[in-house]
Symmetry: C2
């Protein structure tokens, strides 16, 4: 049994690859499996969206079908609506991510509906899923929006509240979709939305302005123990102007391990995967640690948990 102080969900096979040139389901599944073998506790492996809308995510069922049953890994798949939830459940998915945006403008651009309709859509997904899968609601644009309609924590607070009324058992992941979070904004939103000890809140950080690791540090100091990342720093939303990639798994793991936290992840194995990504996506990855390599030892980190 691996003891973890911090839970990292690698979203590279889904969020990371969705705006790349499409690669086959077998290669996406192989990436997900390699992440599992590197010790990643949670992996977002597929989505059940229209292949016309997002060609790179076609054949989600084939990806899921190629994943091994592992007691040490939680596999996730994203669904956009009730029809997607049905497809995911049929494919054997037991952990479902859904997204809803704190930004009305982003919601309309990304999924073509406003916030009220998006909450209604969540309710229909919840009805389909019932108790057949656990749910993670990812709230996009939680720390600002390129459409200028998220100027403080009010919209995300309202969306989280309505979401939890609709899906009372869901966990919540606040997403910095376009990299506008800062350590102060992280603190402002987390303190506004809910006390962390009452709600299972994770963060999904993008590194558009190089602030993602500093944002993670600020969140850790506030008690957050769950982060979405992508090996290599893959990603970038096709619908958000200027969106950078996800916080790189290796960049966060390096800092967490140095701080004395346990993630269950083998950093060297992650770096090996990161070094193979350019062959998959046909361009370099932005992660800094995958270029520079791991750290030399320096003093000793004090373990953060007595467990």
């Amino acid at each position: 049994m691996v003891t973890r102080d911090m839970v990292i969900r690698d979203v590279g096979p889904r969020d990371g690859l969705q705006s790349e040139r499409p690669v086959g389901a077998d290669r996406r599944a192989a990436l997900a499996v390699s992440l599992a073998e590197a010790g990643v506790a949670e992996i977002e492996a597929a989505s059940f969206v229209s292949p016309k809308a997002v060609p790179a995510m076609a054949d989600g069922g084939a990806v899921i079908g190629a994943l091994p049953d592992r007691a040490d890994v939680t596999w996730w798949a994203l669904v956009p609506n009730a029809r997607g939830a049905e497809l995911a459940l049929d494919a054997g998915v037991t952990n479902i991510t859904v997204t809803i945006s704190a930004s009305e403008g982003y919601s309309r651009k990304n999924v073509g509906i406003g916030s009220d309709e998006a909450v209604d859509s969540l309710a229909r997904i919840a009805a389909v899923v019932a108790d057949r899968a656990s749910l993670d609601v990812v709230v996009s644009c939680s720390f600002g929006s390129p459409f200028g309609d998220v100027a403080d924590a009010t919209p995300v607070g309202a969306i989280v509240e309505r979401t939890l009324e609709t899906m009372p058992g869901a966990r919540v992941t606040l997403a910095d979709t376009t990299g506008t979070a800062t350590p102060r904004r992280i603190s402002h939103v987390l303190s506004t939305v809910a006390p962390l000890d009452e709600l299972d809140i994770g963060l999904h950080l993008h590194d558009t302005r190089g602030t993602a690791l500093a944002n993670a540090l600020a969140a850790i100091d506030l008690g957050v123990v769950r982060f979405d990342t992508a090996t290599g720093g893959l990603g970038g939303s096709p619908f958000a102007p200027g969106a950078g990639g996800n916080l790189a798994t290796e960049d966060l793991v390096l800092m967490l391990h140095d701080l004395g936290y346990r993630t269950g992840i083998d950093l060297d194995a992650i770096l090996t995967i990161a070094h193979q990504l350019p062959a998959l996506i046909e361009h370099d990855v932005p992660s800094r640690v995958s270029s520079a390599g791991p750290l030399p030892d320096f003093a000793s980190a004090t373990p953060r948990s007595s467990a």
Copy 2:
């Protein structure tokens, strides 16, 4: 009079350009002047090293001669030895940076002498300078060394102690020359070296592993108010394998302003300078904020000082 809570020294014209293809003294001086006009309080504009060793830093006297007298700017020049100090003083320099390495291996590779000889060299510089200039001792490899000989805070503590015996009036800047610092290592070294309220300690951060901004955040929480940066994230040591550029001025300023600190710096003016740098150095700059642009407003930052 500009009120500042944080003092940023832009070292781009020196540390940033020293390993680039050489550009003329006039263009380096123009960069320094543009930084001053953007509100940067301190600027390292030149060095008085051998043009054979560092061709890009030739004609340091011409750079200094082209700088205007400004009451709101402290101009700095780096000197490698007593001869360089004489040249700098002759050129009218009144603020001198010297470097000494916490890593014996880096010292031998970078300047060809060991730590004992380096301390002796500092004593000779101090004797030449006397009271004609203020001194800033930059301790390289303070948070680790590519040569494996800085494994905790002991070497930097010893070098700082010997340095302050040699140059009792100097201020000290701890440099993460090769980007091996982490928030924990920053805390470990700062708490070992000296209480911040007894010593004027600044940080000089490089972003080799993407940790520079998180390191700055950790240092700010510990009371550090002085940072070296370079607009565009210019830099990288020719003597340190894998060294990344300096923490970008615009990346730090964005976070500081968002946190409510005053720097005196006009971020938009810095971004304008950053956008002109590729024409100067003939390649892109690594700064993320110069690519992504400033942040939309989000809630209101509380000013950090009552002044």
